[in-house]
C-alpha cells in the first residue's frame, strides 16, 4: 500500500468537501501554522515518517479482515485528528496566529474526524472528544510547568508526553476492534503506539530543547534541575542559554532522554513484530538503532544531537 499517496488523497478529498472559502485556507494550513516554510508542500512530505499520519493503515497490513474502506475511514479520522492537534498546539504555543477562518476550518476537521470514527465503529459517540480534552489539558499543564522552570521527574515527563498525544490512539484501536482483533492484540497496539509516540517525542525534545527553551520552556531544563537553572538567568529576565547549556550538558539528561527514546522504539518494534505489522516493526527497529547511536554519541560528546541537527543541511550540501 502506498501510504504517502493515501495521506495526500485523504487530505485532498477532505478539502473538496469544504465550503469554497475554506478550501484555500485548508490547502495553506501547514504553511499558516509554520510547519513548513513554503506553500504547497503535501502532508506526506512534512513529516519524516509515515507513522504520524498513517498509523492505522500501517497496523492494517496485519489485519486480514480490515477492508480497504475500513482502513481509509480509520486513516481519515486519524489524520484529521493529528493535523488538528498539531495546528491547535502551534496556535496555543504562539508559534502561529489563529484567525476566524482557521478556527472554522478546525471545526470542519473535527466534525469530519468524528463522522469518520463513528462510521467506522457504528457508535454515536466519538472517542476523540475525550482524547482531545486530555491532550489540550496536558499541553496547557506542560506549558505552565516548563514556563516556570519547575524541576520535574522522568515519570512526569512520560505521563504528560503520553497524555499530550492522546489523539494518536483512537483510530488504530477502533480499526483493530472492527477488524476482529481481541483485547490482547488491541492492548498490544496501544503499547506499540505508546512506544512510537514517546520515542518520537523524546527524540524531538532533545533536538529542539534550545529552541523550546527560547520559546518558553524545555523538558531538558526541567529534568536537569529546573528552577535552580533558571535562577541563573541575568536580571533582564532573558534566559542565559550558554549557562543553561553547560548545566544541561553536564547533567547528561540529553543522553538519558535519547536512551529513553531507544527503549521505547525497541518495545514498539518487538510488539509490532508479534502482531505481524512488519513494516512498522522494521521502521521502529531503525529508529531504535538511530536512537542508540545518538545516545552513545551524546553520552561521549554532550550536545552532539543538537549540533548534528543544526549542521545537517550543511553536511548534506558540503559532504553529500
Amino acid at each position: 500500500m502506498d501510504f504517502s499517496s493515501n495521506v495526500d488523497a485523504i487530505w485532498t478529498a477532505f478539502c473538496n468537501t469544504l465550503p469554497l472559502d475554506l478550501q484555500r485556507e485548508a490547502r495553506a494550513l501547514a504553511l499558516a501554522v509554520s510547519l513548513v516554510p513554503l506553500a504547497n508542500i503535501p502532508w506526506s512530505k512534512i513529516f519524516k515518517n509515515e507513522v504520524t499520519l498513517a498509523a492505522p493503515a500501517l497496523f492494517a497490513t496485519a489485519m486480514p479482515q480490515a477492508t480497504q474502506q475500513m482502513v481509509m475511514t480509520a486513516t481519515t479520522a486519524h489524520m484529521l485528528a493529528v493535523i488538528d492537534a498539531f495546528a491547535t498546539d502551534r496556535i496555543l504555543d504562539r508559534q502561529a496566529t489563529g484567525n476566524p477562518q482557521m478556527l472554522r476550518l478546525f471545526k470542519h476537521m473535527r466534525i469530519e474526524r468524528d463522522r469518520a470514527i463513528c462510521e467506522l465503529t457504528g457508535n454515536q459517540e466519538s472517542p476523540y472528544q475525550d482524547a482531545e480534552y486530555i491532550g489540550i489539558c496536558a499541553i496547557n499543564i506542560e506549558r505552565l510547568l516548563l514556563q516556570h522552570g519547575m524541576a520535574l521527574s522522568f515519570s512526569d515527563y512520560s505521563n504528560l508526553s503520553l497524555a499530550k498525544q492522546a489523539v494518536a490512539f483512537p483510530a488504530s484501536l477502533a480499526l483493530a476492534r472492527v477488524a476482529g482483533w481481541d483485547g490482547r492484540r488491541e492492548r498490544a497496539i496501544q503499547h506499540v503506539l505508546r512506544g512510537i509516540v514517546l520515542g518520537l517525542q523524546f527524540h524531538d525534545d532533545v533536538v529542539d530543547w534550545e529552541d523550546d527553551w527560547q520559546k518558553g520552556g524545555a523538558w531538558a531544563v526541567s529534568l536537569s534541575g529546573g528552577q535552580n537553572l533558571r535562577d541563573r538567568a541575568p536580571c533582564d529576565g532573558k534566559p542565559d542559554i550558554a549557562s543553561l547549556r553547560r548545566q544541561v550538558h553536564q547533567s547528561g539528561v540529553l543522553a538519558t532522554m535519547m536512551t529513553m527514546a531507544r527503549w521505547r522504539y525497541r518495545m514498539a518494534a518487538r510488539l509490532a513484530a508479534m502482531l505481524g505489522a512488519d513494516w512498522l516493526s522494521s521502521w521502529a527497529r531503525e529508529q531504535e538503532v538511530t536512537a542508540a547511536e545518538l545516545a552513545e554519541r551524546e553520552s561521549s560528546s554532550a550536545g552532539y544531537v543538537v549540533r548534528a541537527h543544526r549542521l545537517s543541511n550543511w553536511a548534506m550540501e558540503v559532504l553529500g
Binding site: P37, F47, D89, S301, G303, L311, V318
Partner: protein
C-alpha cells in the same frame, strides 16, 4: 609525510565537520565567526577588509581545530555556509521540517 586527510579538501571538510560535532566550543565559535561575515559581498563584488579579516581568522581557527593545513575558505564558500548554518536558508524546503510529531 602528508596523509590524504592533509591534502584532500573533502577529507579536510569531514575533519572539520567531526570537530564541530564533537566540540561545542568549536561549533559556537564557528557559528559566531560565520555570523560576523557579511551576508552579501560589497557593491563592487570585492571583499571588504573587515570581512577578509574574519575569513582569515575563521580559516586559522579551522586549521587549529583540525590540525591540518586547511587550504582555507573562499568568500563565496563562507557566504554559502553562513546561509546554511546561521540563516538556515538553503535546503530547508527539502528537509523534513520536524523529526517527529512534537505536539
Amino acid at each position: 609525510m602528508q596523509t590524504a586527510q592533509d591534502t584532500d579538501p573533502h577529507a579536510q571538510l569531514r575533519t572539520l565537520y567531526m570537530s564541530l560535532l564533537t566540540r561545542q566550543e568549536h561549533f559556537d565559535e564557528f557559528k559566531q565567526l560565520l555570523s560576523m561575515y557579511p551576508a552579501a559581498p560589497g557593491e563592487d563584488e570585492t571583499e571588504p577588509p573587515a570581512a577578509a579579516e574574519v575569513r582569515q581568522k575563521l580559516n586559522q581557527r579551522i586549521r587549529e581545530w583540525t590540525g591540518t593545513p586547511f587550504a582555507g575558505l573562499s568568500s563565496s564558500q563562507i557566504q554559502m555556509w553562513r546561509a546554511i548554518v546561521v540563516d538556515e536558508r538553503i535546503n530547508v524546503a527539502l528537509s523534513p521540517w520536524k523529526e517527529s510529531n512534537g505536539y
